[in-house]
Symmetry: D2
Subunit: 266 residues, 4 copies
């Protein structure tokens, strides 16, 4: 377990953990977790260069290696060029954490524009397809690799107001199964991770609710907020999954707080 040893006769680059969608929630914490284990974490996010720099510094302060890039995944070529740049400039991508969300809150059909519907797909489904198209051939050549895909309740059931999000996530799940069917026998581990609840993340949940409602929700979920999904704890599972031996790989897994109801209950 853990990354592979340096090449004999030279200093090999660290294995890279590429996080697409590295905010202050799941993405950032997963990046930190892998850096702590000897990976070079490459953190990509669309905006907030300042936040990105802080994240990289936190990792470096802990003694880890990290790089940060602003990346607009909706932009043609953006993911592909970043992958190519990392492979030549930093090291082999051993792990991809695909963590782009497409949640836009509940909106009735009439308030869901074609543009919003398409953007959901473009980020959440097509973004993963492009990422896989870029990294799978590289991983296949190396005979190994891991793609950890953050997914959501909306991948397994549609709900009122979730037209865009559910369509995008449902596509993402089926894409994960298709990727797994082709690439698992070639040594590439694809995991579809259903985050089935609210995550204690200021960048996503916090932004959606606004500061006041976010503060109240956190208080309502217990002293340690552990009625919310804590991103540092989610990161433990991501890291574990990346280290599973290939004789016992997980393809689908769900995560939620103990006090939350699974999506199938009410």
């Amino acid at each position: 377990m853990g990354p592979h040893p340096p090449h004999p006769g030279g200093i090999a680059p660290k294995p890279v953990c590429l996080v697409i969608g590295a905010g202050a929630g799941i993405g950032g914490h997963v990046g930190k977790r892998f850096a702590r284990e000897g990976y070079h974490s490459v953190l990509c996010r669309r905006r907030d260069e300042e936040g990105l720099r802080r994240l990289v510094e936190e990792i470096e302060t802990e003694g880890g290696q990290a790089s940060g890039f602003l990346l607009d995944a909706a932009e043609p070529g953006s993911i592909e060029e970043r992958v190519a740049g990392i492979e030549t400039g930093i090291g082999p991508i051993e792990v991809v954490v695909f963590n782009l969300g497409a949640q836009i809150g509940d909106r009735p059909l009439k308030d869901t524009s074609y543009k919003a519907f398409e953007l959901g797909w473009r980020l959440a489904t097509f973004g993963l397809f492009r990422t896989a198209s870029a990294v799978c051939p590289l991983m296949e050549e190396r005979g190994r690799g891991t793609i950890l895909v953050t997914s959501a309740t909306a991948a397994v059931r549609g709900n009122a107001g979730q037209h865009s999000h559910a369509a995008a996530m449902g596509g993402r799940r089926m894409l994960c199964q298709s990727l797994n069917a082709e690439y698992s026998p070639k040594g590439i581990h694809v995991v579809h991770i259903v985050i089935d609840g609210a995550v204690d993340a200021p960048d996503t949940l916090g932004r959606m609710l606004g500061p006041e409602r976010f503060r109240r929700l956190r208080e309502a979920r217990g002293l340690e907020h552990d009625g919310l999904l804590l991103p540092a704890e989610i990161a433990e599972t991501y890291f574990f999954l990346s280290q599973q031996h290939r004789s016992a790989w997980t393809h689908e897994i769900d995560l939620r707080a103990f006090s939350d109801r699974p999506w199938w209950n009410h």
Copy 2:
């Protein structure tokens, strides 16, 4: 059961069954089935004006009403304008049969172009979203309506080579659940119909296999070819679903030939 009676004091237009994707398989047979019950079937397909005309004539010969339109669903505005045209020129759309496929055969990831992946989504997922956006407000105003969505095995499991198709169909299924969650209480019946096997259809299966392989497959599936899904029999279930009383509506259903294996078996 059956369409509503004519308005008192005037000749009301027949209720319309709009079939998007009306080839010689499921779409065409469902169009005929509804026409036989007093609906005006509006048949839309991308090409083969001659085949379309034949279909309309067959319905008229049987004493039914039908109209045919070439429609490129990938074209912006095409579905929306057709819906508007039908409502003003033919009659109220009571039933929509959304029957656009996106099957392009099994292709490994490296042979699945961005364009092919996007086209799958554009037809199979976004096409349904646009259709629903156009008809749901009309149906909501009338307090009733039915949307029958042809779907595929790929909506419930991804498979090797199915990257584009499965992502599109998985999105379609979650969209159906989202539409149902919003519109079922408003009297609109959305059904997701998993066609879990090969359909005896020259336009789709026949085209994919070529004439010789198609002929051999048909022969292998029994004298009456009923080891394949017969589109006329599929149409019976579509019509039945459209007539279910709202106290007992089906949202998800599967169909396959008796001699075929369900997708979950092997």
Copy 3:
């Protein structure tokens, strides 16, 4: 479609529709529906001989054929002997409606006795296994037959207090899939029907709620109570399923009132 014609040169017995669990709800209405189409409905229930007689008389008054038997499905040999008796004394069983419930209301684990847990299984899972063991060889010999299995939300998701019910129904669903895998290619149609909501049935829902709460629930669900599942409408779907052509068989289907939420929503 419809039952097979009488043998040439003699009066063949009517095909039998055997209903196991024929109360005033789904079972009784399905029995009536099949009788109306020319089947001899054999109605079996555990108690209320008076209610059973009334059901048989209603069918006969409509011009149909029916027989009624008290049957304690938990009793060893009870189902098996009834099946044998029908085949020799009434006619060939073409359709079985397995309609035994095992709902005992929500009970926390500590209030769910071993006995209650076992009884749930004995009726809902083992009862179906015994029924299938008795009728499948007969149907296989005739090359056709239909087994319609009433199931419940609890077959697809467990819930608080549903330990016994969910375990029994989950077993029932997997048994249906196993029966289907073995017998569908032999011409026996097995359907698992998820009744996903409250049924307007005095014998089951009425008994569970008591008369006053049942009355209030019915009123709350609309003038025609069609916010509840109306058993006469459910029966339409059961009959339709029994008549599907074998080239397009349904194995799994759900039913709920338009105004109710599917189990996966909340």
Copy 4:
């Protein structure tokens, strides 16, 4: 992470990991894994006292603590008494690994006796219910506990010849969801683990295939046999799941070898 520290001012007993179904496959390896982390592993199995003793000795040789008991789970009171005995004699049960199988190989319906069908349920479904009934109140009082349930492909899809096994496992899965719904908010973590493939285990797979076919299968699955599920690797996931923070618990997870097909593919 890891078991709780000893009480101040006294030697607290080690936390217990109780394995019900501790052969040379998953059960034994999970027992070893927990012992290595400071748990007292209590290993229970139906037969082979010699094998059981060996397993205990291996753990002790590694410096761990273990006890072994023969236990016939089909026997009334057997599980309940063992649980009580452990709690008073060894220590608090923090983790239960419920690992009883009910696979009897593929058998057509006519060769599946009532007795075989019932035994499947008695071990795989009722056995878990009895175990939960015994340990949940104890865990609830302590505010924590973990129940790891080994499950099988048959829990999520029935298949030809799997009448007994699938019915038992389907019930097991729905029972896990029901237990989770009641007990997760009380701090008890229930995990349903789908072992979706052949396990490299002499006691189960080896016994079913016979020594010669088992040897050939192992050879066919690669030098390290890692085309089979290696029980030591499965045990890594079991241990990890038991250590998940309660803010991010998994309820359902699958495991299979990289080169195997998931149950939904073929």
